[in-house]
Structure formats: structure tokens, C-alpha cells
Symmetry: C2
Subunit: 431 residues, 2 copies
């Protein structure tokens, strides 16, 4: 199909949803993609651009002739334009901004002035607002008057004379109420606003917790400056989750379209951290070389202690990171949760210590070494549980995202502690 | 405050959002919670119940007098009732179902007949549907006619005479179009339906990908049976992410309110898997006892190989699991991704092998052992990358959720492989 039939290509691609077109472009390799784009002139519209992966978007925007780019971005809401523009280099930004109508351009530039990952970047400037004293009838007449309405909107926002939002009414409620009803009498209980500099993760959390569909955004003077809709909040939630998930495994942000070299680079950092920590662990073991020389069974068993401690630590970390993200873990119950983790470590440490002690006794006929590994597992699993909850809590306290730094870090620290405790006890008891 | 002042309590709690009340109940311990509930008679409504954590919900439903329970659930949409009922035991289910109006009861029982985690459980039976040939005016008159409308709705769904949904129109579009416009001329491009037995994760993915707000649900005959709204899809997305995240760390579903005993039990399973795998790793090391006895430095260095392989494997697993979840990784590009992982393993394996070889040469003055660890790291990291992508792909192929089984499993397997490769090469080369 790629062999030159432009009309056929249009017939195939034009009816597709932009998200599917973007997926298709991401699946192709660079050469195929170029061929497709040069055949499919005029096909890439703004919607396709906003569905694309960041790494690809830059490539495609550069490949588009300026005229086509201008057409492509004109129809988008300002939040989508911001999303496209913020990842481009200065030249690309100029090209896109220059293509916008003056009013949209100002709105986009204003949004870009807000910090990255803030509500200001996420919101669209297009809002439907009416005075708080209006009736349903007035609102309906206003909506039907041919004003420029956003593509998607679900609420009419009521504002006071200073443009402060005071409530909102769902369109469903407006449609089903008598014309004489005062809007302020049918506002939703769930109404709340977010500040333009609130962090986007916080915004997504508010959406999820209160089951919101759209949220008005206010500036420092409490004035309405935009609105965030749930589909954008859902995308943020998805991205944040993806970041947390990959961070637990020690992977920086990634894309399936990346090549070997980029991917290797993105994983290098955490592997390096692991290497350094593992060398510290090796140093710890080296201190006990004399002990190991005498009892080689210790070398055989020590990875068991490390694996178990690593797993127990990661379990505690993941539980704490999630609970912090959902605000289920907060200063008021932190102490209780820490106590619980110690309890869990003591229980599971005792259980697995006992199991492993018996295994060594039965299969290796070494009661003393069995006792040593039992005690070592008990202590290490308890420390791993405790450390696993304290590390995220501490990072969070100092404003560092606990999801990003906790994963591989904790497993390597637990390795070190595990080796030290096991070999240390062994040296004291057995020699 | 908990000291008996019921009126004060009502004054404090009644204005709160149900989600906040639920949070508060979750933060209290069991004794405080009982005291609060007996003071705050009539305060717990259906909304609070649906915001509660599953483990708490059962406790609270049992504590509520039947009359209050009946009042509490009557106002909910059927999807929220289903959500509450599905986790109760038979007795609790009877109590709630008995409290419902007949029509709602039938809808809930029907939903419960669909498989767990299916679209059928997620949807609400309350839909706003009109014949496809209606005009905007007719739709508006219908909405204003006082029919029983759902609390939240964003689209009017057009159906053909067989009740098959053929499109939908946003309320915003209805409000801003002339009365004579035919509804079928202003339907949304993004329209798509899901099947009642589709898996809820798939549904959430469709919402996220196509930026949908609501999706009609159809049965085997393509008939409209309900609608899923984005807030429910967002909750599903959040829950699925949480599961995946915890699974990567080897934790079963958990709650911050759980006690020590429950928490320890939930983590026991993966720790046991780790213990068994670690014992296999110990067996591998035991085969090389003679080698270690002669060169204790090998025992010092072998955890480095295991840590690095474990981290590289987890990186590949996490990347693959995410890409599978977002459908970025699929049969059409699986081979390319596998090749890329091999490439990444070769690149990073070579890099870290070289670094570690130099470290051993410089700090331990053992050129041959340096060479052994360099080669061992190169091979192991490549195998770890390859295994890290093949395990999730294979599980996925056989219909097993790769997120649940891949995490701790891969780290322990890479341990085994790492020890075997390192000690095996060492035995061959050094003895």
C-alpha cells in the first residue's frame, strides 16, 4: 500500500480516529513514516498531533510545511496547543505560535508562563461562564445566541461581578429545569476550584476523589481563568501512574518507539546507582572474607537473606508510595503506619526465619547456622519493612517525590543491611 | 469532640463531601469509628458508603440498622449499588437488595449476573435515549418533560427502533443548536460502544485513548443496556494502576486501614515465592562451593552480578508490562521490541561489564577475575533484558495478566542465572 497510492491512503486513513492515526504513526519505523507523511498531504491535523508521543511529535512537526501546521493547530483548544508547544524547541514554538489567531496566541503564551506540570498548563482558556444571578432561561438564551462555545463543556460556571467562580450547574440540570429557576439554586454540591499553580497530580487526585467532570481554575485573586476537564485529568493520572510504575523498576520515562541507544541511556542511570550500591555491599562482604573462607555455606546462604530483605523492603516501599499518592497516608496516621510496618516485619521475619532455619537444619544439618540465618532474617526483614516505609515518608517530607527515588535504592540498601547482619551474627556466633 | 456531643458532630460532618467523610472514617481506629457511628445517626448515606474502602464498608453496613441502610442506598445510581453489593456476603446482599425499589432491584440483580470486572458491573442502567430521527427541539422537550433523569449525564444517546445505539449528541451541542436541527446531523465523531462483557480495564483504556466522557454499553443483540461514565472509568484506571504497581513489588491488594496480621498475610505469598527461588539460587551457588573455597573474592563479587541482573530484568519487565497495558506493544511490533531489548542488554551489559572489570583490576589487582565479571555481566544483563520482555509477552499470550506475575519472579530468576553464569565462567577460567 505504501507504494505510492495517495488516494487509496486518504481513503484508508481519513476515517480513522486521530488516536488511531497517531498509534499507526508510532508503529511505523522512521523511513516508512516519512513515506507515509509525504503521500498523506494534509492528513495530519491538530488532533493527530496532540495524540502523538512527544518524541515523535517533534519529528513530525518539523516535517510539516508551515502552512499545513498553521491549519493543523488552529482548531485545537488552547490546552492542547500548550501541550504540543511546551515540548518543542524555540524554533518549533515560534512556528506554531505564529500560526495561531492573536487571541489564542495570547492565551497559549499566558499558559506557558505557568510552571510546568501546573494546573495553568493543563487548563483550557475557553470557559462558559454566566453571572450568578441569571436564571435557567437566560443561560439557555445565552448558549443559543451563537457565542463561540468550547468543543466540549459539561457545566456552566457561575461567577460573581469580580469574576470569582461561585458554583456551577450541569447542562443536564439546565435542560431539565424550568426557565424561571435561578441558576444558583441548582448548583452542584461537588463544586470546588483549583489554583492555577496547583500541581497537576494534585488536580488529578481531586478529580478522582470527588468524581468531578470539570474544575474551574482561579488565579491569585480568585478570578476564573480557565477550566480543566476530566479527560485531561485522566491523562495526567495515567502518566503519573506510568512514571511511578517505571520508577519502581528504575526506568526513566520511556517510549516504545525509542531506539536501542536512547533506551539504554534511559536505563543507565539507575543501573549505575545499583552498581555503586552493589559495590558497597561487596565491601561489606569483603570485611567477612575470613569468616566465609572458613564456612563456605555462608556464601551459599547470604543471597537468600538479601533477596528476602529486598522483597520485603520493596513491598513496604510500594505500599507507602501508593498510600502517600492517594493521601491515605498523612501526618495524622504516619506513626500508626510505621508501627504497623514494624509489626509486619516482625511477623513475616519470624515466620521466614523459622522456615529457613528448619531448611538449613534439615538439609544441611547445621543447627547453629540455621539459628544464625533465622535470627538474621528476623532482624533484616523487620529493618527492611521499617526502612521501606521511612524512606518514602522522609523523601515526601522534604518535598521529593518518593516514587522516583525509592525503588532500586531500597533493594540495594537492604542488600547491604542483609549481608552485614547475616555475616556479622555468623562471625560473632560461629567463630 | 467524640465525648458525646451528637449535635456538634452533625454540625461538623454534615457539610463535608462524602469522600471526605469516608476518608475520616478510614483514619479512625475501630473503637473510635463505632463511637462516631452511634453518635452520628442518619449521617451515613449511600454516597459515603460507596466512597468507603471495601474492608470498612462491610463493617459499617453491618453496624447500620436496616431502616437506615434502606434509606442510604435508595438514592444511588444502580452502578454504585452494584459496587457496594458485590463485595458483601449473602446476608448483607439480601439486606441491601431488599431495601431497593423493585425496578432498581431488578437492574442490580441483572448487573450482578455479569462477570466480575466486566462493563456490565460498571455501567448504570439509567440512560437518556431518544429515537434517532428526533430533532433538537423534540429532545429538549423530552428532557424538560419531567422524566426521571440520571444525576449526571453528558450525552443523549440515539437509538434505532431495535434499541441499537447509533450515535450520541452532547448536551452542549443540543443547547447551542437550533430546535429544528436533526440530532443525527450533530452526533459526535468519537462515538463508540462497548460490550457488556468487555473487561473493565479495556473499557478504561478506550476512555483514555479516545478522550470519551461516556460510553453506551450493548448486549449480545447490540441493544443498549446501560452507560458507563468517565468518572467510573477513571476509578477503574486508578485501581488497575494500583494493582500493577503493587504487583511489581510483590504485594497483593492492600489498604492502609489493614492491621498487622492481615498485611503480613497479604505479603506472605510473594515472600514465599522469593524464598523458594532464593533457595534454588543457593543450590546453584552450592554447586560451586569448591570454587568459592579457593577464591573467596568470588563470594564477595557475586551479589553485584545478581543485583545488576535483577535491576536490568525489572527495567525490561516494567517497560514491557506498561507497553502491553497501553497496547503500544502488540504482535505487530513484538519482534522489534524483543530485538531492541537484546540490543539494550548488549549495550548496557558491555558498559557495566567494562566498568566492573576495571574496578576489580584496579582495586583488587585481579585481572582474570575482572575479565570473568566483565563477561558475566555482559551475558547476564543481555539475558535479563531478553527474559524481562519475553516473560510478560508469554504470559500475555496465554491470557495471564503480565503485571501480576512478572515482578519478583524475574528478579529471583535473574539471581539464579547471574550466579550460574558468573560462578560457571569463573570455574572454567580460573581453576
Amino acid at each position: 500500500i505504501e507504494a505510492g497510492d495517495s488516494a487509496r491512503l486518504h481513503a484508508l486513513l481519513d476515517p480513522l480516529h486521530p488516536a488511531d492515526v497517531a498509534d499507526l504513526l508510532e508503529q511505523l519505523d522512521q523511513r516508512e513514516r516519512r513515506a507515509l507523511l509525504s503521500l498523506w498531504r494534509g492528513g495530519v491535523d491538530g488532533e493527530v498531533l496532540s495524540e502523538l508521543d512527544e518524541s515523535l511529535r517533534e519529528e513530525i512537526i518539523e516535517a510539516l510545511p508551515p502552512g499545513e501546521l498553521a491549519l493543523a493547530v488552529r482548531d485545537l483548544e488552547t490546552d492542547d496547543v500548550v501541550d504540543i508547544v511546551e515540548d518543542l524547541d524555540a524554533e518549533g514554538q515560534e512556528a506554531v505560535l505564529g500560526a495561531l489567531a492573536a487571541a489564542d496566541r495570547i492565551a497559549v503564551e499566558k499558559a506557558l508562563a505557568y510552571p510546568e506540570y501546573s494546573a495553568g498548563r493543563l487548563m483550557q482558556a475557553e470557559v462558559v461562564r454566566v453571572p450568578e444571578y441569571w436564571t435557567v432561561g437566560e443561560a439557555i438564551d445565552f448558549l443559543r445566541s451563537g457565542v463561540d462555545l468550547p468543543d466540549q463543556f459539561y457545566h456552566v460556571i457561575l461567577v460573581d461581578p469580580r469574576l470569582k467562580p461561585v458554583g456551577y450547574v450541569t447542562l443536564g440540570r439546565i435542560l431539565s429545569s424550568p426557565r424561571s429557576t435561578r441558576l444558583r439554586d441548582i448548583t452542584e454540591d461537588s463544586f470546588r476550584t483549583v489554583h492555577v499553580r496547583d500541581e497537576e497530580g494534585t488536580v488529578a487526585h481531586v478529580f478522582n476523589k470527588y468524581h468531578l467532570i470539570s474544575v474551574p481554575v482561579v488565579d491569585d485573586d480568585d478570578r476564573l481563568v480557565g477550566v480543566i476537564t476530566i479527560d485531561d485529568a485522566m491523562t495526567v493520572l495515567d502518566e503519573e501512574h506510568e512514571e511511578d510504575y517505571l520508577a519502581l523498576a528504575g526506568v526513566d520515562e520511556t517510549s516504545i518507539g525509542d531506539r536501542v541507544w536512547e533506551t539504554a541511556k534511559r536505563r543507565f542511570r539507575w543501573l549505575l546507582v545499583t552498581l555503586i550500591a552493589a559495590n558497597v555491599a561487596a565491601q561489606v562482604i569483603a570485611q567477612f572474607e575470613a569468616t566465609i573462607e572458613q564456612i563456605v555455606l555462608l556464601a551459599v546462604l547470604m543471597p537468600i537473606v538479601a533477596s528476602m530483605a529486598g522483597n520485603a523492603g520493596t513491598q513496604a516501599v510500594a505500599t507507602a508510595v501508593r498510600a502517600l499518592a492517594t493521601r491515605d497516608l498523612n501526618p495524622s496516621n504516619a506513626l500508626r503506619v510505621v508501627r504497623r510496618e514494624i509489626g509486619v516485619g516482625l511477623v513475616n521475619g519470624f515466620a521466614f526465619g523459622a522456615i529457613m532455619g528448619l531448611v538449613v537444619l534439615i538439609f544441611f544439618h547445621e543447627p547453629m547456622i540455621g539459628l544464625v540465618i533465622a535470627v538474621a532474617l528476623w532482624i533484616t526483614l523487620t529493618l527492611a519493612s521499617l526502612g521501606g516505609v521511612l524512606v518514602p515518608l522522609t523523601l515526601n517530607r522534604f518535598g521529593i517525590d518518593p516514587a522516583v527515588a525509592s525503588g532500586p535504592f531500597v533493594t540495594t540498601v537492604t542488600d547491604i543491611v542483609g549481608f552485614f547482619v547475616f555475616l556479622g551474627i555468623a562471625t560473632m556466633v560461629l567463630l
